[in-house]
Subunit: 219 residues, 2 copies
DNA sequence: GCGTAATCTAGAACGAGTTTCAGTATTCAA
DNA sequence: TTGAATACTGAAACTCGTTCTAGATTACGC
């Protein structure tokens, strides 16, 4: 959404969904910024992502960086969106058909988890930002939420075509809550990898079993 | 844990579990600090809790404030611990016997939620700190976690005496994940009160029904 | 091509969390 | 009671996110 500076000039931020079409050089700048952010975050986590450094590394003036991403948190949430898009692509390319829905959900999340274990600092930086985000970032955080929800939903019913029920959406929400929160505890050293797995498996029990006519009522 | 300044003097922070016994005046200072924090947080949330202001309002030098609480996040997490202790007392004073465990859990959490709705800014400040906390605060965050877990466990089985099973602990963990995370979404305006309730009810389905010999295997 | 509005750059400046330091007050053991 | 160790004070200094300014550059409708 367009903001206004003190002297009344118009101002837009170049987030994903902005109405501005972005010239080629602008698109390139945006990419450079995200790449630099990713690099710095992967090296030293949240604290290592310093706005001046990001600006320098992406060869952009500090003011320009702030025009593209209005705060450090916006920047990192956008980075997360970016990374998730890539991850989503990878997951779709290697689908896990054949398993029952519940297992598929667990499998998907654990695979994502393994991805994050490979870049713990990057993960820490992005997750810290997500959690620290306040109302002013809710649009962007919502974007990330949508992508996550989508991934879990795709794992839940074989065919992504059917409209999800309210019940399913409720379950997915609780799953993403658990997912985020337990990831954070792992990053902060308050939970082991095994515990994260266990949490995921526990919450996955909320995913309804496929109601084949075969076995019902078994304990 | 004792830290060391540049000139090698010893230094301790006066957190809850510190080994230092705390003289009376020190205990009083600590209280003043926590009270000031609560007051500022209740007025204007996380951003309104400014270390200089807290120091001034509690009539303590800035350096002293930092000796008691080594960072703003530590300070707010300690405040949360403090508030939770009070809340726990209130809840225990008005127990909700008679309901089945699942309902009791839901009831307890919703009651806590209503408490937080009464002081949204304070809640925001404390929760932001909890989520932003990094490894250096994990001990304190764990403390808060223990208290929460305890509250939910007490709601789960009528008699608080029996040792919780591993299964129960797993469920409680997922419940607290959901609780924290959905509280945050509410604070950030990304979820309505109704949605928080729904999330709690959804996750509470993980609480096992009391296995009376009467009804088993019913859908 | 030309003029103008929008964008970008370099750098200073501001604000709040955090650290440091010199000096004063308190505590506590002998 | 006294003297050393520890804690507290007041104030300055440092860092990093963020904002602001003045001047260059670029994009774009005519």
């Amino acid at each position: 959404m367009p903001r206004t500076t003190t002297d009344g000039r118009k101002m837009t931020t170049y987030t994903k969904a902005a109405g501005t079409p972005l010239t080629e050089r602008q698109e390139a700048r945006r990419r450079r910024i995200l790449r630099a952010t990713t690099r710095l975050a992967a090296q030293g986590g949240y604290d290592a992502v310093q706005m001046r450094e990001v600006a320098e590394m992406s060869e952009v003036a500090l003011g320009t960086l702030y025009r593209y991403f209005p705060s450090k948190v916006h920047l990192l949430v956008a980075t997360m969106y970016d990374q998730l898009e890539q991850l989503g692509g990878q997951l779709r390319r290697k689908p896990n058909k054949g398993l029952p829905p519940r297992e598929r959900v667990v499998d998907t999340l654990l695979r994502a988890f393994r991805g994050m274990q490979r870049e713990p600092h990057l993960t820490e930086a992005m997750m810290r930002a997500m959690q620290f985000a306040d109302r002013s970032v809710s649009a962007e955080v919502d974007g990330v939420g949508r992508i996550t929800t989508q991934m879990i939903l795709e794992a839940m019913h074989e065919d992504a075509s059917t409209e999800p029920s309210a019940e399913e959406l409720a379950v997915v929400r609780v799953i993403t809550h658990t997912w985020h929160s337990s990831l954070i505890s792992w990053l902060n050293g308050r939970a082991s990898i095994a515990q994260v797995k266990l949490d995921i498996e526990t919450v996955a029990r909320l995913v309804p079993e496929p109601e084949d006519e075969a076995d019902a009522g078994t304990s």
